[in-house]
Structure formats: C-alpha cells, structure tokens
C-alpha cells in the first residue's frame, strides 16, 4: 500500500511515466490507447487512496527538494486540492475513452503526440492540485500552459497556429507579467510562499496594497478567464473537442479558479481580505464577466464558441463567490468547481459527438437532431440544466449556496448578477434543447442520414451526465471538503 507521501509523488510520476510509455508505443495504437486508460485508472486509484485521510482531517505533505535557499518544491494535500485532483483524475478516464472514440472517428493525425501531451498535462494538473506553496503551483501552472499548447494547436493549420498564439500569448503574458512579480513580492515581504491556513500576509500590507497584490494574482492567473484576459478560451476552441472537453472544461480552467481560491484562502487569508475589504473590486469585475460572457454566448452560433463563453461566465461564478468571502458562498464556489466540471465536460462531449456523427458545428444546424442522437442530446439537456442551476442537476446545489452566501452578506449586486445570468443561461441553452427535440429539421439536400455518435463517445457522455445527476443526490464529498477548507 502507498504511504500518503508516496501517493503524492505517484500522482505526478504515474502520468509522466505513462507519457513516456505512450510515446514508445506510438506504432501500436491499441497498446498505446490501453496504456492511456491504464495510466488514467492508476492515477485515480492513487488519488483515491488519499481521500479517506483528507476527509478525516489529515494533511499529508512532501518536500521534494530545495530550488533556491529557502524556496522548496513542496506538496501538501488539503481539501480543495483533494477535490481538484479527484475531479481531474476521475474525468481523465472518461475523457480518454471519449478521445479514443473521437480521434479514431475523425481519423485524426498525430494521435501519439496528442495522448502524450494529455498525460503530461494531467501530471502538471496533479502538481498544481497538490502544490504546497505558491512557487510550486507557479511552476506546474507554467508546465500546464506549455504542455497544452501542442494540444490546442493539434491540427497544425494556420487557424490552429493563430489560435495557439492567442492562447499562449495571453496565458504566458499574464503569468509572466502579473503573477511572477506577485510571487517574488510575496516571497520578499512574507519570507515564504507556503500555503498556510489563515494566509501569510496578515499585517504585512496596507489594505490598498493588499487589493493591488490580489489584483496582480487574480489577473495573473489567466486560466481563470477573468475579463479582459479571457480571449484565450474561445481562441483555444480551435483544438479537437476532447482537448476542449477535459482541458478547457476541467483541467486548465479549473486550475485557474482553483489557484484563485487557493491564493485567496491560503496566501492572503479570508479574514485578512475581509478586514481590508480587498475583494470588493473583484466581485464587480467577476460579476461583469459573468454577465458579459453570457451576453456574448447568446449571440454565438458556433456551438463550441457558445460553450466557451458559457465557461468564462461559469468560471467567474467561482471567482465572484470566493470574492464575497462569505462562508456559504465559499462552499458554493468549491462545489461549483465540481459541478461545473462534470456539466461542462458533458456539453463538450456532446458538441464533439454532434461534429463526429453529423459534421455540424453551428447551433442553427441542430434542429431535430435530438431524434437522431437521443443519448447525446439527452446528456446535453441534463448538463444544460446544471449550467442553468436547476434540479436534479449538480449546478443547482452550488448555485443555491452561492445565492445564499450573497444574500447572507447582503451583497445585492451579486444576487442580481446570479439571477440575471441564470436567465441568460436559460436563454442560450433551452432553445438548443427545444429545437433539438421538438422542431423538425428542414428538408436539406446536404443532410446526410446519420445516427448516434460512436459508442465510446456515447458511453463517456452518458457517464458524465449521470455524474451530474449523482452529484445532485450525493454531494457529500465536495461539500465536506469545502466545509473542511473553511473550518480547518
């Protein structure tokens, strides 16, 4: 059996070793795909060994080595990181099944490079989830950016190259120009970058300086897609859909909001931020992002573009809820990390399934498609309910907590934003479902008869849609972890 320290190390070693093995097995696709699945299953097993310990209050940690005098590469498992690691590793298996179906169904090239980069990206995600200090998080954050670049630009076309430029340009610019100086400054004034309960910046900065530093951090974490640094997300939609599904619905964007919450809770400290009132501006900015992104989603005809802007909006739910600093909204924020992950991955799975089976990419083309692809559109409908925040989908729970927290702290702007965006969400999701099931498709000469998507893809999206509903009925694990984060 693995000791907790070994498990932490294994969570990064297993996907890295998997990456090497995948690259060696490039010539034999079936073996290569089997390695991916085995690696993903092994990773989930490793992560699960840590769960009971963390739920019981344990916080295993590991110091790998000293990078610079006083600056270690260190890991520590705490509730938030545990949840993130669970989501990412759990969904990797499902996404791998989906990827295999998608890549083969679309006869994609460079599949070995694809699966290798995926494994490396997951290793980096684990490093972010289990990071014990801001330096370690920064290092793996950069590795994640670089390892996902080949995935985003997978098709190698000029469009892919241009999308990659925006992706890398925005993410590297924000992390290099904003987050890195913030990191060095935190080291300079606090003498440490360790994630500590209660934060490490108490009594070190004036309120104005605290707000500025928070700004550097939050905007520096470009993966949280806070406006105006959100353009990389729609630009990254040039990637194959499995990439969009896991990375941009789950791993990359979740790494972003995870880092934002982690920095706010464990570097700044909720109390420090509250007394300084340093997050008021963030509530406004996040609120603006929520509404603005939803408005853009309304007018987007390309399905992946609509989903991308929906993601931007949903991510800012987490940021805004965290910025409210109310206990209930913080629980909602953490819960939403889980709820949005399973919901969004389902939506992207469905988009990819529609593309693979019917070669359709625009919302306007989806009339009547529910008849031909009932499983796909059924899953889409459930996930859409989660986005809107309706039962019996998990999104209802997180939204409930977020609204409760906003009302408890009497932040009426936040409440308005949540209500308004719920309506907007309904506005851009419900018509798709309605038209898919209740509108007959026009008699189109180009409409080739097609059925459901390949079986592997259908299995994957059914699994995640089921998870969305299951999380509604059994939300104990994320809720417990969220509460533990608030009351250590």
């Amino acid at each position: 059996m693995l000791t907790p320290e070994q498990a932490i190390l294994a969570s990064m070693v297993v996907p890295s070793a998997g990456a090497i093995l995948i690259s060696l097995a490039g010539r034999t696709p079936n073996l290569r795909e089997a390695i991916t699945l085995v690696t993903a299953a092994l990773l989930l097993a490793v992560v699960l060994t840590l769960l009971p310990l963390v739920m019981a209050g344990g916080r295993p940690s590991l110091v790998l080595f000293s990078l610079l005098p006083g600056l270690d590469i260190a890991f520590q498992v705490e509730p938030l990181g545990m949840l993130f690691a669970l989501i990412a590793s759990g969904l990797w298996i499902v996404n791998s099944l989906y990827s295999i179906g998608y890549m083969r169904g679309n006869n994609e090239a460079n599949q070995t490079r694809f699966f290798v980069c995926f494994a490396v990206a997951l290793a980096a995600t684990m490093g972010i989830a289990f990071s014990g200090n801001l330096l370690t998080l920064f290092i793996f954050y950069e590795v994640l950016t670089l390892s996902t670049y080949p995935l985003v630009t997978h098709h190698g076309t000029d469009k892919a190259r241009d999308g990659g430029r925006v992706y890398l340009g925005l993410l590297l610019s924000t992390s290099t120009v904003l987050l890195l100086p913030a990191l060095v400054f935190i080291w300079f004034i606090a003498g440490s970058t360790d994630f500590t309960v209660g934060g490490i910046l108490a009594d070190k900065l004036k309120p104005g300086e605290l707000a500025l530093l928070l700004g550097l951090c939050v905007f520096g974490i470009g993966k949280a897609a806070l406006m105006p640094f959100h353009r990389w997300l729609p630009a990254a939609m040039v990637a194959p859909t499995p990439v969009s599904a896991l990375l941009h619905a789950v791993a990359v964007v979740k790494a972003g909001v995870f880092s934002v919450v982690k920095v706010m809770v464990y570097v700044f400290g909720v109390d420090t931020l509250a007394t300084a009132g340093a997050t008021n501006w963030l509530v406004a900015v996040a609120g603006f992002t929520i509404v603005a992104a939803s408005v853009v989603a309304l007018s987007a005809d390309n399905l992946k573009r609509r989903l991308a802007y929906s993601t931007i909006s949903q991510l800012s739910y987490v940021t805004m809820a965290a910025a409210l600093l109310a206990p209930l909204s913080l629980v909602g924020a953490v819960m939403h990390i889980a709820a949005h992950a399973v919901g969004k991955i389902t939506l992207f799975f469905a988009a990819g399934a529609i593309y693979t089976a019917a070669h359709k990419t625009e919302v306007s083309q989806l009339d009547g498609i529910g008849r031909r692809m009932p499983w796909t559109m059924g899953a889409f409908a459930i996930a859409a309910l989660s986005m809107i925040g309706l039962p019996p989908a998990a999104g209802f729970i997180s939204k409930w907590y977020m609204v409760s927290g906003a009302m408890a702290s009497q932040h009426w702007l936040a409440v308005t934003v949540i209500v308004l965006s719920t309506l907007l969400n309904a506005g851009y999701f419900l018509p798709i479902i309605y038209r898919a099931f209740f509108v007959t498709p026009p008699a189109d000469a180009h409409d080739h008869p097609h059925g459901e998507a390949p079986l592997l893809m259908v299995i994957a999206l059914t699994a995640t849609a089921t998870a969305t509903v299951m999380l509604f009925f059994f939300p104990d694990v994320p809720l417990t972890l969220a509460r533990q984060m608030l009351n250590p």
Binding site: L67, L68, I139, E142, G156, V184
Partner: protein, 494 residues
C-alpha cells in the same frame, strides 16, 4: 614537485602548450587528439580549483615564485573559479563537437589551425579569468581576441572574413581603451597587481586620472562584452563563424569580459567609488534596458537563426549588466549566476544550430521549415533552450530571472520589475518564431535527406541541453558559488 600547488599555473599552461604542439603536429587526428586531451585536462584542473577554493578559500599563486606585487600573481577566488569551470566545461564539450562540425564548414587543410586557435583562445580566456595582474589581463585578452578573430574568419561564408575584420577593429579599440585605462591606473598607483591596486587607489580616489581610467576601462570592456550600443560586431561574428566557434564564443567570450568589468569595479575601484562618483548605476541601467528591448526586438525580425540568437545574446547580456547596476547582493548574484546559466543555454543553442546546419544545410528560417519532423530531437532541444531564454521555470534562465526580480523588488523599483518581465515576453516572441516555422510548416522537399548527426556532435549537445534543465532545478552549485562571490565582491574582499 607537488602538482596540486601548481594547478593555477597549469590551468593556463596546459592549453597554452597544446597550441604550438598542434601546429607542429599537423595531422588532423593528432591535432584533434591533443586539443581534446588538453581541454579535458583543463576542465579537470578547473573543477579541482573550484573545489579547493570552496573548501579552503582564495588561492594565491605567484608565477615563477616572484612574490606579488612585483611578480605576476594568479588569484583564484569564488568568482573566477566559477568562471573557469564554465569556460573549460564549454570548451571540453565544444571540442569533440567541433571535430564533426568543421568537416563541412572548414576546409580540411585548415583543421589543425582550427584546433590550434581553439586551444589558444581557451588559454587566453582562462588566463583573463585567473590572473591577478592588470597588464596580464590585457595580454591574455589580446591572445584570446586574436585567436577568436582567426577562428571566426575560418567560416565558409565569405562574409566571415568581414565579420572577423569588424570584430578585429572594434576589439582592438576596446583593448586599446582597456590598456589606456590600465596605464592610467599604473601611473596613479605604481602597481599592476589588482589587489594591491585596490589598496593603493583608496588614497587617490576621485582624482581625474582615476576617473578617466574608470571611464576608459568601462568603455573598453563594454566593447568586448557587447553592451548595447557597442555590440555591432557580435551579430556578424556569431552568424558567419563556424558553428563550433559560435557555440564556444557565445558561451564564453562575453562572459569573461563581464568578469573583467566585475573585477575592476569591485576589487580595484571598490563599489563606492564606481557608483558614487560617476552616474554608473543609471548609465548601466539605461544601457542594459536599451539592450534588452532593442536587441530582443531586432531578434524577432531576423530570418537566420544564428543571427536571431546572436541578438538574443546581446539582450541577455543586458540582463547581466542590469543585475550589476543594482549594486546589491541579489543583483550581483543574478549577474554572476546568469553568466553561467546563459553560457550553458547559449552554448546548447548554438551547438544545436550546428547540428541543424549539418543536417539541413543551413540555419535560415526558410531552411528549417518543418524541422520538427526532420530533426525532432534537435528541434525539441532548441525549444528547451528557448524556454531557458524566456525564463520558464524548470530551466536555468528562471533562476537568473528570479534573482533579478528580487533585486528590483528589494529596491522598490516596480517599473523595473515590469520592464524585466515584459522583455522576457519579447524573448518568447522570437523563440516562438522558430517553433512556428519548425512545427507548423511542411518540411521542404530539398531537406528530405537529413544528414544524421554524428554522436560526437549529438552527445555534447545533449549534455548541454540537459544541463540547461539541470541547473534550473539543482542550483546548489550555481547559486551557492554566485552568492558567495557576490558577497565577497560587495564586501570589498581583495
């Protein structure tokens, strides 16, 4: 005779003796063998010296047993032991690399001359680093420069001759200014020994000849280290020289010149004199920033990879001088560690470009289209080197950047912090020019038959690429030595 006590002398004597021997033993393979043995012995000596200094402190060695300050003294402390390891390490790796590399770049009958000039240049650079005598610095500077001019002129492109001539002109001006400065110092202090000079200057500080000496030395050395705007010789020299020469010079020549500047500023003049009397701090800051931004921007628009990375070197030297301008422990540590980190990174990149030149017959962006498919490992190596230039964590460049940012933050200069990070984004732009051409374009038809890289080239290259990552993770050697050296320099240790 106890060999250990004579290590400092042997450090220079071994390559120096190898030079005339290789000329006399004209046969290529023998010349190569001799040069190789000499360079590896030199590396062993430098490692022993480093270890000795780390454990017992500064070593003072009197040449010919003539005591300082009348005789020439070789003085090895933390700073130059670090540099000796860098220079000899790079030479030990580039020499086997060059054996295969110059097959296609230098006419066969000149190969023995190549090895002669190589060990002579090595001797010169090591001599500059190890000597404690001011005029001796000038002598070895001339030795290394003259041999460098010849090495550059051996390039197969006709413009190599012009590049060598341009370097000769500017280098001679630089050396002349340096010797004028040294002459003025000798007039004012009556000694040529660096440490002694430092003691004696205390009584004549602030006098016009001393300030003039400072100015002459600064300008002279700045020409040699290619500080913007005195960098004009560098792009041509690195582009048209044979690949092995570019790799060696890019990794060592400018670093040794920075060392000369550090030695004169801190050991001879003393930091208070330098930074208080003349606006050195502001001037170096401005020139460093100008170099960082101008050179990076120019690099973005280059079409030849060697030229692109040559301008990148000018920008990176700007970082080193920027660290120097802070006049603080963090700033100096950043400078000294970046001497090493950049040396390793640029050495790796130019060696990789040598593999590219051999493989596809050139290093222009047009030629390297689709290099990701044609030479996947080499392309990946260039990406790793590029990431180090960008300062991505996990590579050596990140360590230097960390200390530079820390130095700026310690002085509360937030605008400088943002200038530093924005300039590293410029590095990302020119590195990504290569990435996009290599991975997004289809390979050219006429590069279908890639010349396989011989193991004599690929092995040293791989070592340096791995070192680029290694020194980004294990900083005990680099930061340990650099911070000690910085503290010693600032502490006025003589």
């Amino acid at each position: 005779m106890n060999l250990a006590t004579h290590l400092p002398a042997l450090q220079v004597v071994v390559p120096l003796i190898a030079a005339p021997l290789t000329v006399l033993l004209r046969r290529r393979s023998v010349a190569f063998g001799l040069a190789l043995v000499a360079s590896w012995l030199t590396l062993a000596i430098s490692l022993l010296l480093w270890w000795q200094v780390a454990s017992t402190g500064t070593i003072s060695y009197a040449i010919g047993s003539w005591p300082a300050p009348w005789g020439i003294e070789y003085r090895v402390d933390r700073l130059n032991s670090f540099l000796l390891v860098l220079v000899s390490g790079i030479a030990a790796l580039v020499l086997p690399f060059s054996h295969s590399s110059i097959e296609s770049e230098v006419p066969a009958q000149q190969h023995y001359l190549f090895y002669t000039m190589f060990v002579l240049c090595l001797a010169g650079l090591l001599g500059i680093a190890i000597t404690g005598d001011a005029f001796n610095i000038f002598v070895f500077l001339e030795v290394s420069s003259l041999s460098a001019y010849v090495l550059i002129a051996l390039g197969r492109d006709r413009r190599a001759l012009f590049a060598a001539y341009q370097y000769l002109l500017m280098g001679s001006i630089g050396a002349t200014f340096l010797v004028i400065g040294i002459g003025l110092l000798y007039l004012m202090t009556g000694t040529l020994n660096l440490a002694d000079m430092g003691h004696r200057l205390a009584s004549v500080q602030g006098t016009r000849p001393v300030l003039a000496a400072l100015a002459f030395i600064t300008v002279g050395v700045s020409l040699k280290l290619a500080l913007f705007p005195l960098h004009q010789w560098l792009p041509n020299a690195y582009t048209f020289a044979p690949s092995a020469v570019s790799a060696f010079l890019a990794a060592t020549a400018t670093k040794v010149a920075v060392y000369v500047l550090l030695r004169f500023y801190f050991t001879v003049f003393g930091e208070s004199a330098v930074f208080a009397k003349l606006p050195m701090q502001q001037m170096m800051l401005l020139l460093a920033l100008a170099g960082m931004f101008a050179a990076s921007t120019i690099a973005i628009f280059q079409t030849d990879l060697k030229r692109l990375f040559a301008y990148s070197s000018v920008a990176q030297i700007g970082y080193i001088i920027l660290g120097l301008s802070f006049n603080s422990a963090s700033g100096l540590t950043a400078s000294i560690v970046h001497l090493f980190n950049h040396g390793v990174t640029k050495g790796a990149i130019f060696m990789l470009l040598g593999c590219v030149a051999l493989g596809v017959g050139g290093t222009t962006l047009a030629r390297v289209q689709g290099l990701g498919k044609r030479m996947p490992l080499v392309s990946f190596g260039i990406v790793v080197g590029g990431l180090s230039l960008m300062g991505v964590p996990g590579t050596a460049g990140f360590i230097s950047k960390w200390y530079l940012l820390l130095a700026a933050l310690e002085q509360g200069q937030w605008w400088l912090v943002f200038m530093i990070v924005v300039s590293s984004l410029l590095a990302a732009v020119y590195v990504w020019r290569f990435v996009e051409v290599a991975y997004f374009r289809a390979p050219r038809g006429d590069t279908a038959n890639v010349v396989a890289t011989p193991w004599l080239m690929s092995l040293p290259t791989a070592v340096l690429v791995i070192a680029t990552v290694y020194f980004g993770l294990d900083t005990s050697f680099t930061i340990g030595t650099a911070s000690d050296a910085a503290a010693a320099l600032l502490g006025g240790q003589r």
